[in-house]
């Protein structure tokens, strides 16, 4: 059985100091880390690239999708251009990315902002400066995603096995009407 690979976290923040900090914090927790300085670059990294005519269509994304596996995205809220909130929305709207857990960081404690982000699907909201204790909260979210992914795979395999068995029954008893496999 393959060893559990390290989780890969994408960190988004326009402040270089904060990028350095979050990278060190994450690496201390044994995560693999990629940092980018804008939401646009984050989307590019994730394979969602803006089409001239359409904006961030997932159909375009599937063609350009890179071979990168990101397990969690942690992003600053206040960024010039596209905010962390906008990024969160784009990710949750994307078929290919919506299951990736997203965490928002902000230096400002604004309850309405926090609620908005959580309602939009953010797993956590961290107040800056982010602490080791905050980063320690991330693993459960990642384990949940990983297990869900495994469960989905298991379900698919079960279905496949079930179909195969039905086929074999049909072959061994030719008088019976051949069962139609569910797609």
């Amino acid at each position: 059985m393959a060893l559990e690979t390290r989780f890969h976290v994408l960190a988004v923040d326009d402040s270089l100091i904060d990028r350095m900090l979050i990278e060190r914090l994450l690496k201390t927790s044994s995560f693999n880390v990629t940092t980018v300085d804008s939401a646009t670059k984050a989307l590019k990294f994730l394979g969602l690239v803006e089409d001239e005519l359409r904006t961030f269509e997932t159909s375009v994304a599937s063609e350009i999708h890179q071979d990168v596996d990101v397990n969690l995205i942690i992003t600053d809220y206040c960024m010039p251009g596209m905010t962390g909130y906008d990024l969160l929305r784009k990710i949750k709207e994307s078929k290919s990315l919506k299951n990736i857990p997203v965490v928002i960081m902000s230096s400002e404690n604004v309850p309405s902002r926090i609620n908005r982000c959580l309602e939009e699907g953010a797993e956590e909201f961290f107040l800056k400066p982010v602490q080791q204790a905050d980063v320690n909260k991330l693993k459960p979210h990642l384990m949940k995603s990983r297990n869900k992914g495994d469960q989905d795979q298991e379900q698919e395999q079960d279905q496949h096995f079930h179909n195969k068995r039905k086929d074999m029954e049909a072959i061994s008893s030719p008088n019976k009407t051949r069962l139609k496999c569910s797609s």
Binding site: S15, L16, I17, D18, M20, L21, R24, L25, T28, C78, S107, K128, P129, Q131, Q132
Partner: protein, 157 residues
């Protein structure tokens, strides 16, 4: 085996860093930075602090320029202060951060005189903390050069 000199340097270092906390120049976030430093990342604190210096000096220049204009763009001023507040908070430069908080309130009020006064204050606080941090780092480097290790402060308050 450590010699008397290293012992003395370490005590001096501890006294100095304690005073920085007691006087409010630094807060707990600075200790977080130190905790993130290890054998694999031995220069982490120096790197972050250097970045802070560069960042702050740029922002203070931008602020001076922005507040010198005939028609002050308070949104821009606020954006600069917001950045400075963020970076000072991230490294634990408490007094600078607190100055920025007051500064932002005056930006919102669009109070030019108070903003100019805040700018002077934040420049002063920045200079203070820069000197303190440079001294602290120098003390650390002396200890390491003499073969000793940097003692960790007991944060009991």
């Amino acid at each position: 085996m450590q010699n008397m000199e290293v012992d003395q340097m370490q005590r001096q270092y501890l006294d100095y860093i304690k005073s920085l906390f007691l006087e409010g120049f630094l807060d707990g976030q600075f200790l977080q930075l130190q905790q993130l430093q290890d054998e694999n990342n031995p220069d982490f604190v120096v790197e972050v602090v250097s970045l802070f210096f560069e960042d702050s000096e740029r922002l203070l220049n931008d602020l001076t320029f922005a507040l010198d204009q005939k028609g002050i763009d308070f949104k821009k001023v606020d954006a600069h202060v917001h950045q400075l507040k963020g970076s000072s908070s991230s490294i634990g430069a408490q007094r600078v951060k607190n100055c920025c908080i007051a500064f932002r309130n005056f930006c919102e009020e669009q109070n030019i005189d108070e903003c100019l006064s805040c700018l002077q204050q934040v420049k002063q606080e920045y200079c203070h903390v820069k000197n303190k941090l440079e001294t602290l780092i120098r003390l650390e480097q002396q200890i390491v050069a003499a073969g000793g290790s940097i003692p960790t402060m007991e944060f009991s308050f």
